[in-house]
């Protein structure tokens, strides 16, 4: 049995007095794509954002229970959040390149984490990241152009390149294809599949078909609880819980 890279035990999350997640136990296995699905407001994004402490930005948000990465408590006060986010990268729904050149977008994380001491090393790292994000061939001759001059799908792959540049262990993706057309979506999905050889990916998606296509494990959240978690094939063919069945088949529960 492979040890989980991320492990949640009894995780409760509150926004002020409102509880958004209830007693979540969930293990994320390395080199797998884990999809988090469920209706809006079910807590899946809240859980995703808890993994790299994006919720710290919301003063009213409080997390209790145990959430660890490689056995280390993510919420230990001694944890350096910037270092944590180098280990746990994030890609958002809307591509959000910095208002800088393509090169600078990818080099940014390497610079702030001081991961590339020499200029040539920095260039190598940027090229490697763009290669692995499947973008190099499209941008290699215009690295000095603004990141936001690219198409939506290219911008999203630029954000993925930026995330992998610092060689995180885990990449969190919050509906990364919802703003993309089907072709750009297919390119990103193909990329996700090749990235899982090196990284662990946790993805929130509203597309059941996407979850079924790209993930190996699927977690279904409903009203703040983790209802069912297991192999993607099982969740989408023979879910155990009626709430899961109702959700994935679009039935009124």
């Amino acid at each position: 049995m492979v040890d989980p890279i991320i492990s949640a035990r009894g995780v409760d999350i509150f926004y002020d007095t409102k509880q958004a997640l209830f007693d979540v136990d969930l293990d994320i296995l390395p080199n797998k794509v884990t999809a988090l699905i469920g209706p809006s407001g079910c807590g899946k994004s809240t859980f995703l954002r808890a993994i790299n402490r994006m919720n710290d930005l919301i003063p009213s948000c409080r997390v209790s229970g145990s959430l660890t990465i490689d056995g280390q408590d993510i919420y230990d006060p001694a944890v350096d959040v910037v270092a944590l986010r180098a280990q746990v990268g994030m890609v958002f729904q809307k591509p959000n390149p910095f208002p800088k050149s393509i090169f600078e977008n990818v080099a940014y994380g390497l610079k702030i984490h001081k991961l590339s001491p020499s200029k040539s090393e920095l260039q190598d790292r940027v090229e490697w990241s763009l290669q692995n994000a499947g973008l190099w061939n499209e941008v290699s001759d215009r690295l000095d152009q603004p990141g936001n001059s690219l198409s939506g799908g290219q911008q999203q792959r630029l954000c993925i390149a930026r995330a992998i540049a610092v060689q995180p262990k885990v990449i969190l993706m919050d509906e990364p294809c919802s703003a993309l057309d089907p072709i750009a979506t297919a390119v990103v999905e193909d990329l996700i599949d090749s990235l899982r050889k090196e990284y662990t990916i946790v993805i929130v998606t509203h597309s059941m078909q996407q979850a079924a296509r790209i993930s190996q494990r699927t977690a279904f959240f409903h009203l703040g609880t983790l209802v069912e978690f297991g192999d993607t094939k099982t969740i989408f063919t023979t879910p155990k819980d009626e709430r899961t069945q109702n959700y994935i088949t679009g039935r009124i529960g």
Binding site: T237, T238, P239, T249, G250, R251, I252
Partner: protein, 224 residues
């Protein structure tokens, strides 16, 4: 039994698919019944009518396929919905084969009418026919109501049909050995008809397995 879909048309699409299968099932059930009647009392007009039904059955088979294809394209069904969409394609195939066996039976009535038939053997055939009609009727009810217990009952009955078929073959061999009958052609034809009913029983069992699979996701054929 199940909750309805948010998209009401999804339920309508699935209902129509089911209705076409039941229509097909009812047709082939009559085909089997009517073909059996032709064994003892041949009527060329009636046999032609039974053979012609094949066109309607084939048309329905195609319609089931087209509807399922469109449903997959439009709704991308998952889990039980996907099984409710895919199973009809297979069930329609089984029903079409049953129709073919009914046709074959009706055609043999033409040959049987030329010579005297062995009444005891014919009676065994009628017994088999009654049994497989019962199985077919039950499996259609099981499909209508997602009733996996009734489907299990149908599967259990397959052995009875197999036994009837074996007994018939034995009886025919005995008669031929004792040379008590001069109508070997009709005996051989009846053996072939018996084989038709044995196959119909198998197809009814296959349908019963699909009924089980729709509700449970479990493929009984794979687990055997």
């Amino acid at each position: 039994m199940e909750n309805t879909h948010i998209v009401k048309k999804f339920d309508k699409n699935l209902d129509k698919l089911k209705a076409r299968i039941l229509e097909m099932g009812e047709l082939v059930l009559h085909q089997v019944e009517d073909a059996t009647a032709m064994l003892g009392a041949f009527d060329p007009v009636e046999v032609d009518r039974i053979l012609q039904l094949d066109l309607t059955v084939n048309g329905l088979h195609k319609e089931v396929h087209d509807r399922a294809e469109l449903l997959i394209t439009r709704r991308q069904p998952l889990a039980v919905d996907l099984r409710q969409t895919l199973a009809p394609i297979n069930i329609a195939g089984e029903l079409e084969r049953i129709g073919d066996h009914a046709k074959s039976t009706a055609k043999r009535g033409r040959i049987l009418c030329r010579s005297s038939t062995e009444e005891t053997v014919l009676e065994m055939i009628r017994q088999m026919s009654t049994k497989v009609q019962e199985m077919l009727f039950d499996v259609l009810i099981a499909y209508t109501n997602d009733d996996i217990e009734l489907a299990a009952k149908v599967r259990m009955q397959d052995k009875e049909v197999d036994t009837l078929n074996k007994n018939l073959v034995k009886s025919v061999i005995n008669i031929l050995d004792s040379q008590a009958s001069g109508n070997s052609e009709s005996l051989i034809q009846l053996t072939l008809v018996s084989r038709n009913f044995e196959r119909i029983g198998d197809h009814a069992c296959n349908i019963a397995r699909y009924v089980h699979q729709i509700s449970t996701g479990e493929d009984l054929k794979a687990s055997i």
